[in-house]
């Protein structure tokens, strides 16, 4: 291959990088344009950042058609398939929500700056690469990009001691988990002699055929990589960073980290498990089932006693991750083939989770007013009188988190239970269903607070809400309701993302 053909190839390939390139470009641009803006103008940075997200979304839209043909680029190191389109759009939507929710919050906090938006966009670019990476090196670099941006975002409020503590904890544990993950990647490289996922898949398949039964080396790779990824999605027993990070970080950053880390983590988890570990699926289903059960149990029962809203949502998100993991468990039939409905359920759950979880954080973000921190349950007291629309939005998100119709969470949980029953896991389904009860109990503490008449002093103040926040919350609530009442299109999208990419 001479230089010319490489150049030609790169020129066509570069189109496939546009979604990420836009994010990186505008992320760096906010860092530069920040210097041109005076202090009152700083909120314009958000506009630049939103422009980047929109252009990235447009480029993703242009890739929809190539994606159906399963394109690869840059010597097979990234892959453009429906799976990428699906997770890319969730990630961009989550990024957009985070930016829209941030503007007024940073204004109140008096911390408006270009770096914040730059970091959000760079993290988003990293997450997009996690969704399309087809090569261990690309994936690892993307993971680190995301992780480092997240550490800084967590500790963004340097004057806040809690934020510093959370960032340090997050970083130490994150470095630990990345090391374990890298160890697992190196074993995979050792097995296949290549960093390309397709080649690794073939090698693992070969090994599986050569060593029927227990193959320690693949199992070690499976175990270490699972541990690393469970950290990213904050599943038990690798969840310790999540409550601290969510409570310590700025509320909009917490929303972004909580949702983004899980969506991107699940994207990577799904891709690795559906390609590389697909031959040894019986083992991974068992491993994930254990993690799911632990996450559900701990997340649910720890959330009951919380009084801080961000911490409560952090624990409830751990339980949500447990439900999504249950969906993955239901992605495999007893005979080892992949189960369509289970994977569809997982994808649908992740899609809708991004919206209703970000929405719930969004209402907490609204509570931050001049002189009011507003992240305790008591701060919600009497919200129905202060701002009825915000209270109803919160109700919608909370019902969805709990899985009550007519919201997206109900359809998502219904699908998970259904596929668990179909794949012969009635006890897991029963457990998942029964855990709804304590979940309703703690979610309805939020609802009861909003509907009480006696509010604290802070609760008497009027609630000032920014235009962008209104827009973001309305969008999130609309999707949560739409996916609950008319889920058909969302279900098709979820199915297409899995079937079109892994062709069961």
């Amino acid at each position: 291959m001479d230089w010319h053909s490489i150049f030609d190839q790169a020129r066509t390939d570069v189109v496939f990088l546009f979604p990420e390139a836009m994010l990186v470009f505008f992320g760096l641009a906010t860092l530069l344009t920040d210097f041109l803006l005076t202090k009152p103008q700083k909120s314009w940075n958000a506009l630049t950042a939103m422009l980047g997200v929109l252009l990235s979304g447009a480029s993703l839209w242009l890739l929809v058609r190539p994606a159906t043909e399963h394109q690869t680029a840059f010597s097979n190191s990234i892959v453009i398939d429906p799976f990428f389109i699906f997770f890319g759009s969730i990630l961009l939507a989550a990024t957009a929500l985070a930016i829209l929710l941030s503007v007024r919050y940073l204004e109140v906090e008096d911390e408006q700056s270009g770096e914040y938006y730059g970091l959000v966009l760079l993290a988003a670019a990293g997450m997009m690469f996690l969704a399309c990476g087809n090569d261990l090196v690309v994936l690892f670099v993307a993971l680190q990009t995301v992780a480092i941006s997240f550490y800084v975002l967590t500790g963004y409020l340097t004057r806040e001691r809690r934020a510093n503590e959370a960032a340090l904890k997050f970083m130490l544990q994150g470095a630990f988990s990345s090391a374990i993950l890298a160890y697992g990647f190196s074993i995979l490289y050792g097995i296949a002699g290549s960093t390309n996922l397709e080649l690794i898949q073939r090698a693992v398949q070969q090994r599986h055929a050569d060593f029927p039964g227990a193959d320690l080396l693949t199992f070690l790779a499976l175990g270490t990589i699972t541990a690393g990824l469970l950290f990213k999605i904050a599943a038990v027993p690798f969840h310790h960073w999540a409550p601290d990070a969510d409570q310590g970080a700025l509320a909009p950053a917490a929303a972004f980290i909580s949702v983004g880390s899980r969506v991107a983590g699940f994207a990577l988890l799904l891709r690795l498990f559906l390609t590389v570990f697909w031959p040894v699926n019986l083992d991974w289903a068992a491993v994930l089932a254990v993690a799911a059960v632990l996450s559900l149990t701990l997340g649910t029962f720890a959330a009951i006693t919380q009084t801080n809203l961000k911490r409560l949502l952090a624990y409830s998100s751990i339980a949500q991750a447990g439900y999504i993991l249950l969906g993955l468990v239901a992605g495999v039939n007893r005979d080892g083939t992949l189960h369509e409905r289970g994977l569809q359920a997982t994808a649908f759950y992740i899609f809708t989770y991004a919206f209703f979880s970000a929405g719930a954080f969004g209402v907490i973000i609204l509570l931050r007013q001049k002189g009011v921190i507003g992240d305790e349950i008591d701060d919600l007291n009497g919200l129905i009188h202060r701002h009825p629309v915000a209270a109803v939005f919160m109700l919608i998100f909370v019902l969805s988190l709990a899985g009550v119709p007519p919201t997206a969470g109900f359809v998502a949980k219904l699908l998970i239970f259904w596929s668990l029953l179909e794949t012969g896991h009635p006890y897991l389904a029963l457990m998942g269903a029964l855990y709804i009860l304590p979940a309703v109990y703690y979610y309805f503490r939020i609802v009861a607070a909003m509907w009480t008449t006696d509010g604290s002093d802070a609760a008497q103040l009027p609630l000032v809400i920014g235009v962008t926040q209104k827009f973001a919350l309305t969008a999130a609530a609309t999707i949560t309701l739409a996916a609950g009442i008319f889920p058909e299109q969302f279900l098709r999208f979820a199915k297409y993302s899995i079937l079109g990419s892994f062709g069961l």
Binding site: L399, V404, P405, P406, F410, V411, L414, L415, F417, W418, L421, E422, P426, A429, L430, A433, L434, I436, L437, V440, Y441, F444, V447, A448, W451, T452, T453, D454, P487, E488, L491, R492, K495
Partner: protein
């Protein structure tokens, strides 16, 4: 007319309250009485649009369900928006729209704060209950079933007090605990039958041939309904909920929400799982018999009007489930008639409670006494509804109780004898309560200068009493409407009855049935199952 055509009438009935709720939602605050008027208009409209069901339904139709509306809702899951009714549903739908309208009308002066939200919740609750009675798709049914909890929760919690919050969450969690198991059971039904269509599943019920599956699914379905009825060990939520809810919400809770439980038993548990039904019958009958007497005994000790009604409802509902689980046509007829008359009579009693509460701010019996003097009209009405509720002849509850006792007697004489004990006890405590409130030893000085019933209150209560009287005096139309559904249920679960059923239940409903001598103590073959 489009809205009343064969395929659209059910949707019209279902969505009228929802449209009302949406209209109210977009009405600005501060329009004075306009919101009240709009809410009342939609309540009344909801009742009026449901009336054509009365004369349009053909009891002779070959299809068990009529007015089918069927649209694909979630094609990739095989879930349909499928509505349809039989005689049983029509009776309960009309009860719901009637009590819905009355509940809204009764709130005119009782609710003074945040009336807009309040009316929206009442209308939403009405829609979800109607949805439960009409759904012929299991997932749609479940969605309405669980959705019902949300407006009910907020109706209870709306006052904002600590007690209300705890009563509301208690109600929610009790109901949900049963429901989540039913959700799994519904999904398992799909796994075995490949459809969510209720009609299909009723055609292919789960029998002993399906092995243990039928038993498990039966348990899943029955638990959800038993909590809602409520049956004996699952009843703890009802007294708190009834005591804490505002009068109109309590009226809807006791009047129609409880009925969804019995409806579920009649529509799903019994005919879909006949063999499991027989297996669990003695347990369920036992629980019903306990409820009848237990509820009545607790009644005697109550100090609060609403709690008294809660326990008398538990007792009456125990009688209702006894009628269902007797699995004889008489028991089933009686059970439905008792449900309807309980809705009317207890609804009226709850309204009276609400009126007392509105004037006095409490429901504690110790605060009342000699009310007959300042409020003669209320005393007369209260006497009438108490008598209607405790099953005096001429009133609907009497017909219901008599028919149930008949049905129970057909199976085991001591079932009837035991439950008669409960009926008498409950009647006694209701009367004793009445005596203490209206006459009593001494008048509470705070109660002397009360206004008697106004014209609106009088009209609402009288309409309930007249309907109850109508059922008591001329129940034939009700029997006729229920004949097909009852026959279908009995033939599904008790095929031995089928051969003789049309002989005894003939064509003209109650008269024929009543004159026919009671059948020989039911067939041993049926019992042996």
């Amino acid at each position: 007319m489009f809205f009343f055509s064969e395929h659209h009438i059910l949707s019209t009935v279902l969505f009228t309250p929802l449209v009302g709720a949406l209209v109210l939602l977009f009405m600005p605050h501060g329009l004075g009485d306009l919101q009240r008027k709009v809410a009342n208009a939609f309540g009344l409209l909801g009742f009026i649009v449901s009336l054509p069901l009365l004369w349009k339904s053909k009891s002779a139709s070959a299809e068990p369900f009529q007015f089918i509306a069927d649209a694909s809702w979630i094609p990739s899951l095989g879930v349909h928006f499928r509505l349809g009714v039989d005689g049983l549903s029509v009776v309960l739908v009309l009860l719901t729209t009637l009590l819905g309208a009355i509940a809204i009308a009764s709130s005119w002066s009782a609710i003074q704060t945040r009336e807009k939200e309040y009316y929206i919740l009442l209308l939403l609750l009405q829609t979800t209950v109607l949805g439960v009675f009409m759904s012929l798709d299991l997932v749609l049914f479940y969605a309405f079933w669980e959705l019902m909890l949300v407006p009910m929760y907020f109706l209870i919690v709306a006052g904002g007090s600590e007690n209300q919050a705890s009563a509301a969450i208690k109600f929610f969690l009790y109901s949900l605990a049963g429901s989540v198991l039913m959700l799994l059971a519904i999904l398992a039904v799909y796994a075995h039958r490949g459809t969510f269509d209720v009609r299909e599943i009723l055609l292919h019920p789960f029998t002993a041939q399906d092995g243990h599956v039928g038993n498990w699914l039966f348990v899943g379905f029955v638990l959800a309904f038993a909590v809602r009825v409520p049956m004996f060990p699952f009843h703890r939520w009802l007294p708190d909920a009834l005591a804490e809810a505002p009068a109109a919400a309590a009226l809807l809770l006791a009047g129609v929400v409880l009925k969804t439980g019995a409806y579920g038993l009649l529509r799903f548990s019994v005919p879909m799982f006949p063999d499991a039904m027989w297996k669990f019958r003695s347990l369920l009958v036992g629980l019903s018999l306990i409820a009848v007497v237990y509820g009545a005994l607790i009644c005697v000790a109550q100090k609060d009007l609403a709690r008294l009604l809660a326990y008398s409802s538990i007792s009456q509902m125990g009688l209702g489930t006894l009628g269902i689980f007797a699995l004889t046509p008489m028991g089933l007829y009686g059970s439905v008639i008792l449900q309807v008359s309980h809705g009317l009579a207890t609804g009226a009693l709850l309204l009276v409670t609400g009126i007392l509460y509105e004037r006095r701010g409490t429901g504690l019996i110790s605060e009342f006494g000699r009310l007959a003097k300042p409020m003669p009209k209320l005393a007369a009405i209260y006497a009438a509804v108490t008598l209607a509720s405790l099953g005096l002849p001429l009133f609907g509850a009497f017909i219901g109780e008599l028919t149930i006792l008949h049905g129970a007697y057909e199976v085991r004489w001591y079932w009837a004898a035991w439950s008669l004990l409960g009926v008498i006890l409950a009647a006694g405590s209701l009367l004793w309560f009445y005596q203490r409130v209206m006459f009593g030893a001494e008048a509470n000085p705070a109660n002397t200068d009360w206004l008697d019933l106004d014209r609106r209150e009088l009209a609402l209560l009288l309409s309930l009493i007249l309907l109850s009287l109508w059922i008591g005096l001329y129940p034939t139309p009700l029997f006729r409407a229920l004949q097909r559904p009852v026959e279908n249920i009995v033939s599904a679960v008790h095929p031995e009855f089928r051969s003789t059923a049309h002989l005894r239940l003939g064509t003209s409903g109650y008269e024929t049935a009543a004159r026919t001598p009671a059948p020989k103590p039911t067939l041993p073959t049926g019992e042996a199952k």
